[in-house]
């Protein structure tokens, strides 16, 4: 590859970054194609695939009927036969209609066949709340999918990850679910010069700090960064850890950060009970119990189907203010000095 021209560092949106990732994948590998509801003519329900039909034609940019189970299953089948499908499920909410294919087929076939079969399918899903779409359109079920052995779950939160995680997912011989928070599509930024690939194994420290580790992913990353800025003005140095992949979890990075800060707050847009935040907490208890100066705290979505009204939705979701106060409470009550 020629070295990146200067305009590669121009500002772009998260949506543009995902589109560029898909475009590169399609250009680089004839086995790859994109399919999903309204990815072609409509231009993608979040405009991610806009323009791709014109560029690649309808064999590789395939509009599907509203048949989630059938087209996700077809993606799995095509992957079994050696292709590298990118299946777009408009949102995670609708993936519930394809749950059987994902959980009973994609996740099991490699193991159940004694390693004879692989399912190198990539499923992209918009996830999350924050746009007043009410309960049936606001689920954050990525942590729920992370319960399933056989699946790889990745959550691009930054422009770099939006741009390069897809390639890593397509290289994986396993089924990968990529969760794109719908709130991030409009976020703008620029690509980090020098980065041309990312992995699906490691968490990333997005802001270093010594007093507490905020463990998060997705849209909540930005709420944590905002909370960290506020806390810094109060003399509290929060480290912000972006999980990036929810399965497998990068225990080493999580544990080594918490060993340094001795405090952990987990921020998850999923619900608290039986959740990803519960899993991370347990791992910290198992692996860093004696290094913790305070019980692990969690900031999650209230245990309600996410409501429509703005003030109710905001109350339900994690916020920078709630995160900052969880930290303050931990540090004052914990008496960590």
């Amino acid at each position: 590859m020629p070295s990146a021209p200067p305009e590669a560092q121009a500002r772009l949106s998260y949506r543009d970054a995902v589109r560029e990732a898909i475009r590169c994948a399609l250009r680089g590998d004839p086995r790859t194609f994109l399919m999903g509801e309204d990815v072609g003519r409509y231009g993608g329900s979040y405009a991610v695939s806009k323009g791709l039909l014109e560029e690649f034609g309808d064999e590789r940019i395939r509009d599907t009927p509203l048949s989630e189970s059938a087209f996700v299953g077809a993606g799995i089948g095509a992957a079994l036969a050696g292709l590298r499908p990118i299946v777009e499920v408009m949102t995670v909410n609708f993936s519930l209609l394809a749950l059987d294919q994902i959980v009973n087929n994609a996740a099991t076939l490699s193991h159940m066949s004694g390693g004879q079969l692989n399912v190198p399918v990539v499923i992209r899903l918009a996830t999350g709340a924050g746009r007043q779409l009410a309960a049936q359109h606001s689920h954050s079920l990525e942590g729920w999918y992370a319960h399933i052995p056989g699946l790889r779950i990745a959550v691009p939160a930054t422009i770099d990850d939006a741009r390069y995680m897809l390639a890593a997912a397509l290289e994986s011989p396993d089924p990968v679910l990529l969760f794109e928070h719908l709130y991030l599509y409009n976020m703008e930024g620029s690509l980090t010069p020098g980065i041309e690939r990312v992995d699906l194994e490691h968490a990333a420290i997005r802001r270093p700090g010594r007093d507490v580790t905020l463990i998060t992913y997705g849209w909540s990353l930005y709420k944590c960064l905002e909370a960290a800025t506020t806390l810094a003005s109060e003399g509290i140095q929060a480290e912000v850890l972006d999980l990036r992949t929810l399965r497998p979890l990068d225990d080493a990075t999580i544990v080594s950060s918490v060993r340094r800060t001795r405090h952990a707050v987990i921020v998850d847009e999923g619900w608290r009970s039986g959740s990803l935040s519960a899993e991370v907490t347990t791992r910290l208890v198992e692996q860093a119990f004696y290094e913790l100066d305070a019980p692990v705290a969690r900031v999650c979505t209230a245990e309600v189907p996410v409501p429509y009204a703005k003030h109710l939705e905001e109350t339900a979701l994690p916020s920078a203010a709630r995160i900052a106060s969880a930290v303050r409470e931990m540090l004052t009550r914990g008496g960590s000095a």
Binding site: L66, S67, L133, H137, A309
Partner: protein
């Protein structure tokens, strides 16, 4: 389209149908505006062009019948008699809304009117409708369940599973497919191998008819017949309402998938213009009548906006209410 035979239209009846359609049209035109003013947020799916289906169908149904709807349900809700104030307040996210602001545009419910809601998952309402109808059957009621859904839903497994179940169990459910030719940007012929939707229901041995969904009288007549048949003989029935939406799918739709000329051609067949023209030609109404209906609708809508805008918010402290039942069922 066979079930569309005309019944003699009277002045009174015609004006009632027109009044209902104009209420819905006016209400939604205002919603469109209010979305621009950020009073209404989230997804907003307008029914503009399809009013004849809701109005004709609700006319023919009885108060005891159960209704299951979709996210494009303002018309169904208004025609069912849910007060406009409560619907507008719901769109504003207020405590006085039908769902106390928790549902918004896509989730209007009114248990007292047996309106089991807007469902925002395509085809998600069909199985529930079968269950409501099963209860009616087991309780030996003469009420039926009417289930609205779009042409897009026909591609979902839930559609096929429910039609089959309703047929083998002879459930008193009336399937009302609102075929507006598009599911978001996907034209029917690009999503369906068999575009004759009514024929699909026949494959499950369900009596099925295609209806001119732009003509409110045809809709009313067809729903009357189908509902009578279900009440008298049991078993499901299916009506494919051929209609068209004039506006975008939602507020975020650049409409790259269809020509303006197509929309214009359908507008000429719009349910409000055609009924008005027909009634005027028959000497059943005057331009003055039309103006009066328009004014009536406008004042009801103004009052609803006023009501919604001055209504209180649900206290944030009550966020976690209703996740579980607060009363014995």
């Amino acid at each position: 389209m066979s079930a569309g035979t005309e019944v003699a239209l009277t002045r009174e009846h015609g004006l009632e149908l027109l009044r209902e359609m104009m209420r819905i049209r006016g209400f939604e035109d205002r919603c469109y505006q209010l979305y621009g003013e950020a009073k209404i947020r989230g997804f907003l799916h307008l029914y503009n062009g399809e009013e004849a289906v809701a109005v004709g169908a609700m006319r023919a149904l009885r108060p005891g019948d159960a209704i299951v709807s979709t996210y494009r349900e303002h018309g169904h809700a208004l025609a069912r008699g849910i007060p406009m104030n409560k619907i507008m307040a719901e769109l504003f996210g207020r405590q006085t809304g039908c769902s106390r602001g928790r549902g918004g545009s896509m989730h209007i419910f009114d248990a007292s009117r047996r309106f089991y809601g807007g469902n925002a998952i395509v085809a998600g309402g069909l199985p529930i409708a079968a269950g409501l109808a099963l209860a009616q059957q087991l309780q030996r009621q003469s009420d039926i369940t009417a289930c609205f859904f779009g042409d897009g839903a026909v591609a979902e497994g839930e559609f096929h599973e429910t039609l089959n179940l309703a047929s083998i169990w002879k459930l008193p459910v009336l399937f009302l497919c609102e075929n507006n030719l598009y599911a978001m940007g996907t034209a029917l012929e690009r999503a369906q191998a068999e575009t004759d939707i009514a024929a699909k229901a026949r494959a499950y041995r369900i009596e099925s008819t295609a209806v001119d969904g732009m003509d409110v009288s045809s809709v009313e007549h067809a729903v009357n017949n189908a509902a009578d048949k279900i009440r008298n003989q049991g078993g499901p029935a299916f009506l494919e309402m051929r209609t068209y939406r004039f506006r975008a799918h939602s507020m975020f739709d650049p409409q790259l998938y269809r020509e303006k000329s197509e929309i214009e051609a359908w507008r000429k067949k719009g349910p409000i213009v055609t009924l008005t023209t027909r009634m005027k030609a028959l000497g059943l109404m005057t331009e003055e009548d039309y103006r009066r209906l328009e004014d009536d609708a406008a004042s009801e809508i103004d009052a609803a906006v006023q009501f919604a805008d001055s209504s209180p918010w649900e206290p944030a402290a009550d966020l976690e209410r209703f996740v579980y039942a607060e009363r014995a069922s």
